[in-house]
Structure formats: C-alpha cells, structure tokens
C-alpha cells in the first residue's frame, strides 16, 4: 500500500481530500482517497451484505414446474455430477436425461457443481438424490444453494476485484495528474447491481467466470502474463461466454510478445500455459476424440436459435424489420453472425496488436465484449454482464458513461427480473448503486457541474425515458395483438444506447495517445 501512496499525485481540488487534511475527520470509504485494509474490508463486507440481502428474494423458476429455471438447472447439475461418473456428465444416459437441463457449460462448471454437491450432500442429501430430487425446493435447500453462490463470489470475485484495484493504482493505469478515490472504485466493481441481481437473485455463478477474467486482467496489468493466460483459460473453462474477451486478451498479449526479442518463443510459452490449463481441466475427456466432441457439441447449442427472448442486440432488434430467422438457415446465420462479430471487433483488435497499452487493453475488453453481445450467435439478456465488467473497470476514466451503461444494462434485464419476482431487490439495489455512485460532497468524477447544459438535457431525456419505460412495463397492459410491445420498446431503447456506447468507446480507444502505449512504457522503465 505504501508504494501506491507514494506514486499517487497529491489530491488538491477535491472536497473529500480537503477534509482528509482536517484533524479528526473520519476516513470512511466514501470520504477518503486511499484504500487501506480497513477501508477495503468495509467496502467488501458491505458488498457481501448486499448480496446476502438480495439472496433472500426468490430465484428463477421458483415453484413453477415442470421445467423450473436456472436454479433447478444448477441443482440438477449438482445431482448429476454427484451421482454419475465424469465420463457420463455430457452423455444422454438413463440417469442423465439431457433433455432435462443437460449440462451445457465446460467441465470447470461441472467440477464446481460437484464441489458444491459434496458440501450440500453432507447436510441435506435428499435435495440431491438421483432422479427423485427433480424440482426439489425447500427453505433449507434454498439457503444452502444461495450460500454456495455467496462463497464462490467471496472466494473468486472479491479477491480478484481487490487485486485489480491494487494493481490499477500500483501501475498507475489511469495516468498521472488525476484525482481518484480508490475505495469508490472498488465499490463500483463490487457493487455491480446487475451482477448481484443475476447471481444472487436470478441464480447463476457468473461471479466465478467473471472473477477469473478479472484476475486475468489484473495479472495482465501487473505484467504477469503466465498467470493471466492460466486464469483466463479457467474463465473460458467455466463459461464459454468468456470467449467474448478472447480477442482482447489475444491481441494484447500477442502485441506485447511481438515487441519482445524472441516473439515466437514468447508466444509458444504462453501457448503452453493455455494448453496445459485446458488439458488439466479436460483430463477426464481426453481419452478419445469422440468424448471431446461430445462435450463440445453440448457447449454450442446452435439449434436454440440466434437469440432468446428480447435481448437488446443487433439481431433481435432488427428482426422486427428483417425476419432473419426466416430468410437464412441456421448454418448461414452462424456464418453471418461470425463475420459481423469479427468485423465489429476488428478495429479494436488491430489497435491493440499494433500498440498494446494498459488503458487500451481495458477499452478493447469493453469493445470486444460489446461486439459479441451485439452480433454473436445465441445471446441472452444476461450476457450484458460481460461488457459490464470492463465498463466497471473504466469507472474512473468514464464515470458518467459507466453509470449510464449500468443503468441501461439493468433496464435491459428488467423484464427478466420482474418475471423472477425480484422487483423489490431491483429497486433497492439500483437506488443503492445510484447513492454510492454519487457520494456526499460529490466525487470529482461524478460532479454534475462539469457538464454542459446540452449534456444535462440529454441525460435528463434518457432518464425520463427509462422511468416511463419502467412504469409502463409495470402498470400498462399491452394490446392483445402485440403482447410483447413494451419488452420490444425497452429493447430498442437499450440497443440504441449500446450501439452509441460501442461507437464511442471504439473511437476513444483509437484516440488514446501513443505515449501511453506499453512499448514506450517499457523503454521508460529500462
């Protein structure tokens, strides 16, 4: 910590900082710039408390037979991994009917299910009994399931977030001459309302894959490329959706290797780490090509169509005008979405390859994940969590953009969370985020008086649109002819915002000055 403090420029024109100099003022997380162990602990414990409180709410598919929802899927995977050998997890057998929530995530998710199953089995075995436990719901089993998510979050995402913030300030990623509050930054990453609602409300384990990704990002920033490769491989092996970030990692690491003495040797070293990690995770399936293909087929459910529900991406939004599903076959649709996705992330990719920089890396993570969210195959609403992660890492550089994006992301999941009966939690967590985003005395990054009248008017317009959409969805019965009219309106609104973001952040990434690029930094260090 001492090092961080020494590197930081003195903060002056900032109210909280002035108060810091006052003798006897309490240095609470919202009124100090420094991240000391007690402040970090306070922020982390508060973030944990919010998660525990959200987990009191209902989960997806609560009390809705015969298929239930994501909660039942996770419970079912625990049941399967506990009672069948690893080789049969992805195979249709009498014990493991794949039609009923068959496992469709990579092996690390299966191992995680097994670990949790062993814990739950010790105290409540009937909730995981083979076949007979389908749709098992009880107060105690809900509690235990919730605690497995909480502990995963605490073990993976929290350390990664603290590590990232520490590295961010140690390496001075944001650049010099900027006044920044480290506890606020940590709170923005940890109190991500979308992530909290999906993981601890709706019920998923995104905290694990996103936590590994966050750890990998921090490792990249701290120049520990091997750890980064290993951690990111783990993230991919937990949820294949982590591939949204793959081009960013690939281009950044490759770009850096190309600037070293022996580029081919460096690339090979990283390649070995990746292959080694993958081999370790896939070990039970490596005995034959068939078994690997069996798993891979489960991971790519192309038959489920290009999009699900009303997701605010390109295919779903434009399908109102162009009926993509009718015009193209699944095969050509796959190809089309692949091409558009690549085209969308190509600028950011090229930029990182040519001039890899720390800040550019964070922007390219955002741009890559957004291009996947907008154009790739089989996207659902919850995938917005992936672009949100790098956006939260840019909270100090683009505070308003981040705040607005968070709000749009929440809005895009609003119908989903309403279906899960999480409206109360949604409102409370959204307000909490707003309050912490604007701490008392005003954080410099969020100070409203910096904005011009035009910008203020734009924000007011956007906010009122969103409030109207929220209320209309709750109170207004859509006409029978268009039962999903309001969902579609929410989708259009969010899609327009997301597209605007992507364009802006792509431009921003290209405009980043070359002097901050990694190559120059290395020369300086030498």
């Amino acid at each position: 910590m001492a090092k961080t403090r020494a590197r930081r420029p003195p903060a002056t024109a900032f109210v909280a900082a002035e108060e810091e100099l006052q003798p006897g003022a309490a240095l609470f997380p919202w009124s100090t710039m420094r991240l000391t162990p007690p402040t970090a602990a306070a922020v982390a414990l508060f973030a944990l408390l919010v998660r525990v409180l959200v987990s009191l709410g209902s989960y997806s598919g609560q009390g809705t037979p015969p298929m239930y929802g994501d909660y039942e899927a996770q419970r079912h995977w625990m049941e399967i991994t506990l009672h069948t050998p690893a080789a049969e997890w992805y195979r249709n057998t009498t014990a493991n009917g794949l039609a009923y929530w068959g496992l469709d995530y990579p092996p690390l998710t299966a191992y995680q299910s097994l670990a949790h199953a062993l814990l739950i089995n010790a105290s409540l075995p009937q909730s995981l009994a083979l076949s007979s436990s389908r749709g098992f719901e009880s107060h105690q089993s809900k509690l235990l399931m919730r605690w497995t998510v909480l502990s995963s979050d605490l073990l993976v995402f929290f350390p990664a977030a603290i590590y990232f913030v520490w590295v961010y300030f140690q390496r001075n990623v944001g650049g010099d001459g900027e006044e920044r509050s480290a506890p606020w930054f940590l709170a923005m990453i940890l109190l991500n309302p979308s992530l909290i609602l999906v993981d601890h409300g709706h019920f998923q384990y995104n905290c694990i894959s996103l936590g590994f990704t966050l750890g990998a990002i921090a490792a990249v920033l701290s120049r520990n490329d091997f750890a980064a490769s290993a951690l990111f491989s783990l993230a991919i092996n937990h949820k294949q959706m982590s591939l949204y970030f793959a081009p960013a990692f690939f281009s950044h690491l490759l770009g850096k290797c190309l600037r070293r003495k022996n580029p081919i040797f460096e690339v090979m070293k990283l390649g070995f780490v990746v292959i080694g990690t993958f081999a370790l995770v896939w070990w039970p399936y490596l005995y034959s090509i068939d078994s690997v293909m069996e798993v891979l087929n489960r991971l790519a459910p192309f038959e489920r169509g290009i999009f699900e529900d009303y997701v605010a991406n390109f295919w779903c939004s434009t399908s109102v005008v162009i009926k993509w599903k009718r015009i193209f076959t699944i095969h050509s649709m796959k190809f089309l979405s692949l091409i558009t996705t690549i085209l969308a992330f190509l600028p950011s990719f090229v930029r990182q390859l040519k001039a890899p920089s720390d800040q550019g890396f964070l922007y390219s993570l955002l741009n890559n994940s957004f291009s996947f969210y907008l154009f790739s195959y089989q996207v659902h609403e919850k995938s917005i969590l992936l672009p949100l992660l790098p956006a939260s890492l840019l909270a100090l550089q683009e505070p308003l953009l981040f705040g607005w994006l968070m709000h749009c992301a929440l809005l895009s999941m609003y119908p989903l969370l309403c279906r899960d009966r999480l409206l109360l939690q949604y409102g409370a967590v959204l307000s909490l985020f707003g309050l912490i985003f604007f701490p008392p005395h005003g954080n410099h990054v969020t100070k409203a008086d910096k904005l011009s009248t035009k910008e203020k008017a734009l924000i007011a317009l956007g906010l009122s649109c969103s409030i109207v959409l929220h209320l209309v969805y709750l109170c207004f019965q859509p006409p029978k002819k268009y039962p999903f009219l309001i969902e579609a309106l929410i989708m259009f609104f969010c899609f327009s915002q997301f597209v605007a973001f992507t364009i802006y952040t792509n431009i921003k990434q290209w405009m980043l000055l070359d002097c901050s690029s990694w190559a120059v930094r290395v020369k300086k260090d030498l």
Binding site: E19, Q22, P23, G24, A25, A26, L27, F28, S31, P38, T39, A41, A42, L45, F46, L48, L49, V50, V52, L53, V54, L56, G57, H139, Q140, L143, W147, L150, L424, Q425, G427, A428, V429, S431, L432, L435, I436, F438, P439, P440, H441
Partner: protein
Amino acid sequence: MGEAEWLWAVATCVKALLIPTYRSTDFEVHRHWLALTSALPLARWYSDASAPCCPLDYPPLFAYFQRILALPATALGGHPSALLRLAPSSPSSAPLPVLIYLRLSVAVTDLVFLLAAARLAHRRLPPARRRLVLVLLLWSPALLIVDHIHFQYNGYLLGILLLSLSFLEEGKDLAGGLAFAVLICSKHLFLVAAPLYFVYLLRHYCRGGSWEASRRFLTMGAAVGAVFAAAFGPFLYYGQMQQVLSRLFPFGRGLCHAYWAPNFWVFYIVLDKVLSFVLLKLGFDIPAPKASFTGGLVGNFSQFAVLPQVTPLITFLLVIFAMSPCLIKAFQKPQPKHITRWVAYAFTCGFMFGWHVHEKASLHFTIPLALISVDNLDDARHYFLLSIVSCYSMFPLLFDLQEYPIKVLLLAIHSILMWIGFSSCFRVGVAPGGTKTNNSSASNGKQGFIGKFGTIYLLGLLGVELWGQLLHPYIFGSRLPFLPLMLISIYCAAGMMYSWVWQLMQILKCS
C-alpha cells in the same frame, strides 16, 4: 443531499432489502394493534381480549400512532382485509402487501430519527466529528436488527428521545420536557429516566426568584399535564383508566425474560444456582425451585433456592439507588452539557437492575451514548466495547440460519466503521477534550485503541459465539440447548456491568 440524508438513504435501501427477512411475533402484535385501533371504538382498545396473543400494552399515544398508521391503509384500499383483520395470524404467513406496508411504515417513521440525529449532529459537533456520529446513529446495527428484522418502532421513539436531548442541550427546557412527556406517553419503558428529568428540570428550568420559579414550575407542569391529558384523558372519560394501567404494568411477569437480558440479575441467578448446587452437595436440604427462570411466562414468579426473593419493589428501589449519584449531581449543578450522559446513565441503571428487562432496552442508552462517544478517547473506547456488546446481546433474537450472515455482517461492518472512525478521529495529538491521547494509537493496531483488556474481552466474545455455533452442537448435540444462550447472557452481562461502572465513574469524576 447532505451527508445525513445520504447515510439515511443508504440505510433505507438496506431496510427495503430486509423486508423479506424473519419477523418475530411483535410483527403480528403491531399488525393486530393496527386492526384493533381502526376497528374498535376507543373505549374498547384496552379492554378487548379477543386476541390473547397481543393485548394492547403500550401507552395511548402509541395507540393513536397505530391508528394513524392504519389510515393510509384504509384509504389505499388494496388489501385492507388482510392488514386490518382482527383475527390473529402467523407473522411468517403475512401476505406480501401487508409485509411491505408494515416494514415500510417502520422505515418511513425513522424520518423522526433522521431529523433528530441531523439536528443534534449539526448543532453540537464540529464538522469533522459529525460524520462519525451520524454513522453511529443512522447505521446502528442493533437498531436495524430490532426494528427492521425483529420488528418494532424504536427508531421513531428514540428519535423523540434524541429530540428531547437536543432541546435540553440547547437550554430549551420546556420543549425538552414536552418531548419527553410525549415519549413516555408512547412507550412507558422510558419512564426510567423520569426522576432524572424531574430533578434536572426542577433545578435548571424552574430557577430564579420564588415567583419566577413557581411560574416556570406551573408552566412546565401545565405543558406536561396537557400531554398526559391528551393521551389518557379519553380513557379516563370512558372509565378505562384501571384497565389501561393494569395493561401497562403487568407485574405478574417474572424477573427475567425467556432469554436473560445481560444485566445484574444474571449474576444473581447464577450465584443462586451455584450456591444451591454446592449446598445440596454438602448435604443441606434445599427445596428445589418450582419454576425455571428461563420460563419468563406471565404469572410465573421466579423462585430462588438460597438467595432472598426479589420483588418488583426491590428492583425499583435498587434502580433509584443506583441512579442517585446522577440525581444528586443534577440537583447540585444542573448543566446542559452533561444531560446526555446523565440520561444514558439513568437508562443503564434501569437496564441493569430493572424488573423483567428485555435485551432490546440496551438501545435506550447505546444510542444517546453515541453522541458523546467522540468527546474524548476514553469515551470512544468505552463506546466501541459497549456498542459491540449491546448488538451482540441481540443476536439470540434472530435464531434462524437465514439471518445468521446478516447479523454477523451488520456487526462486523459496524465494528470496522467504528474502528476507522475512532482511530482517524483520535490520531492527532490532543483531542478537543484536552486529554492527551496516544499519538501512535492509529498505527499501533487494535490494541493501541481499545487496550489489552478490551481486546481480550472481544476475543472472548468471538469465543462465546464459536462455542455456541460450532463446538456446542458438536459436543452436546441437541442437549442443553439453553447453555449457549446462558453463556451469551453471562458474558454480555459482564460487559454491561463494566459499562455501568465506567459510566458511574465518569459521572462522579466530572462535576
């Protein structure tokens, strides 16, 4: 948005998230009162015995408050039938709208608490200390546990108490006295501080020549009398006074509640048990006590085997005796700057020696003491310990696994914030009180701030919790279920005893 409002708003978000948590029978009691006061005529409020679970046993102003709370519910329509139904129902099966309505009513009436806290903090404290006191008050974990999980309206009542204290500190004695009258007409547990208020107001407000003094005395008497008349008058008119008083003071209850509040009587009971055990072993013939002390049921008088029996009168005299130092001080030299300390001490005495005390009553002095905790390092040290003990002693209120992480996290966050706040407040050489403080206290780690004794005591607290949660079930299984609770009571009682002695010393010291 000022800092006080911001803190309150953040707390309100947490309170909203607490809506689905466990609620005790107090939830049903308050719901029933809402139904009772809106359905029955005033004359029958205190005589209605249709629901044996929850007879109205708060003073009339609280009953009026419940009547007002029922008004928006009847106006809104929605589910008035479920909310305002006289028939008793289980708190865990309350329909969602009822739950949300009642929970939010607690959160909204907390505005009184915010108002009082902000008023006090802004008038009394230097800006640097304000933030810390506001955090201690508005984010009090004990208040969250009792009001927003267990379910009561303490925030609103303590808000009135704080308002009264802030008036007194500013020298506005009439307003202070009036607020206190409102408070005891809302919840008579606050009556404990009445002797102190009487002495203080008599000496501080009713001063001047004999003519001026008696004029002031009559003014105060008239003001307080008016509050009481407004509260009790209607019941007097309907000839219900006897009934009201018998509901308010049910001395048929035992000395201790089902879960022993951590006070003096815990030691008395334990001593009795030990003595009777020893004497039995030595061959003496001792009649075994008929009722268990842990019963705490109505009409169940607690019996001691060896030590003298305790009656309500004895506890009353003991409370007055324990309070006498601050009464004498207030009589000799009534000073507004000491009133908060004195009132807190009076409530501590009531808590330590009172009849049938609930563990929740420790809020009555931990909340006012937060105001003076920033005065100097010694006060801060004492408050750090007291507030943790007070909150921890409320843990047994929430016994379900679901709330376990919530209560632990609430206490942990509170402790860390206190730690950050106090150590940054007192890191400078000289505190405003003029006391020389330990310069390296902040860098010294925890020991520098709370001292060796405090550290060992708090570690012991952790040990008690670990015993109750892990070791006890492991060793004894489901046998002796009262042992962990007893351990918490005894251990917290030791901390409370220390706090009582410490407060007494402070009062004796400063003249």
